[in-house]
Symmetry: D2
Subunit: 131 residues, 4 copies
């Protein structure tokens, strides 16, 4: 599991006085920084080798401005050229939202999907939900 | 079908030099304004009676800053207390991304799910994909 | 004057139930697209030759979700290597916010400030406030 | 001085491969959370008593995705009904951007500007730049 603490920003609320749903993709993206660094430790944009092809979100309860949020991120599945992540947003010990993201590994020269090298698979496996 | 023209903003690009994936939830939300007005013509926030519970996105091809984007929005399904929307993002006649959103109708006093009145269902039905 | 119509997005509101102040930099940026195209018609990022060095905003009245907003953009001053823009946000014929932005022209190879060529100055001059 | 650590998000970059300028208003806003709590400890939106009337930003150097950013916030001036804040964004011990924000204190019932009570002035004074 990867964890990331988030301090909500006033502009991330909306007229319903809770965190607006378009904020969650940004929070979950921030929580994926350590995963990008597994594949690209220097964050060299010319060698970028991951692309997000699917993302989904379920909203379980309202998230508020007042309190810190914890994003918990797990690896769900590892395929040949892609892997799936699960995200959870927790606030005051209540699970507020979940997310699922599918990321494809690319050959950084051809920009085509490519088998994920075993060394990266091993690092991802450390973060399976049951692990 | 509802359509909404979008002019991409420079800050909606990312270091990969295309529109960043967290922008699409915001574009699709803008495209839903006419749907909110079906249920709440004055956009009176105290009477707000819709809540988004699920959203998902598939990225088919890169979207660029240079050209206008058209968001096409359809009704996919209408249930008793909820309905599902489909969004498509088109740029230069190429479909770049799709989205699916589930919205629950609430009683604006109790804030509990409530049967969607027939008058609203009739308006939604005008926007089925095959219609 | 350049004009840009904006349809506010639900997520651009905040818990005070008006458009949140961090939205205005994004709206004004969208309104500058035609100015970027004067200097870089193909929006070729490798040849980008403008950089924003200062921006400021004054909030005069609340902006609401309900109605379209018009951004009016003028050229305020043209110096040797930089120019200043004025932005105004109008909603229902009321001026809601103003902005001022300073942009420096760069040599696209050296990335150093460079004298603005006369052909660009002439195009900018068409958009002076009094013009 | 108030300090706030920021972990940049991939979507906060732009096609120039640095943090886009519209991100800074959001980061500085997050850094003001402790100031809002001085005036409104419960963040009760119905009693909100501060309004931002001016904000400005100077960009000194590029900010990158790779490294944490520290936002340092100071009180610059305290007037009768308003006060001015200074923000600085630092990354790897280099100052990248500055901001100045003017906030007006409102009577939470009338929503009109009101003399800042001495107890709040005393708290603000602890954060003068020279302090």
């Amino acid at each position: 599991m990867f964890t990331q603490k988030i301090i909500p920003r006033f502009g991330e609320t909306d007229a319903l006085r809770h965190i607006t749903n378009t904020t969650f993709p940004c929070w979950f993206e921030q929580a994926r920084n350590p995963i990008f660094k597994i594949f690209n430790p220097d964050l060299d944009f010319d060698k970028l080798n991951l692309i997000l092809v699917h993302m989904e979100f379920d909203f379980l309860a309202e998230t508020f401005l007042k309190s810190e949020v914890e994003i918990r991120t797990y690896i769900d599945k590892i395929g040949n050229t892609s892997f799936t992540l699960l995200h959870e947003a927790w606030q005051n010990e209540i699970q507020k939202a979940t997310g699922k993201v599918v990321i494809v590994y690319l050959n950084s020269e051809t920009k085509k999907p490519f088998s994920i090298p075993d060394k990266y698979k091993a690092k991802l496996k450390e973060h399976f939900k049951e692990a």
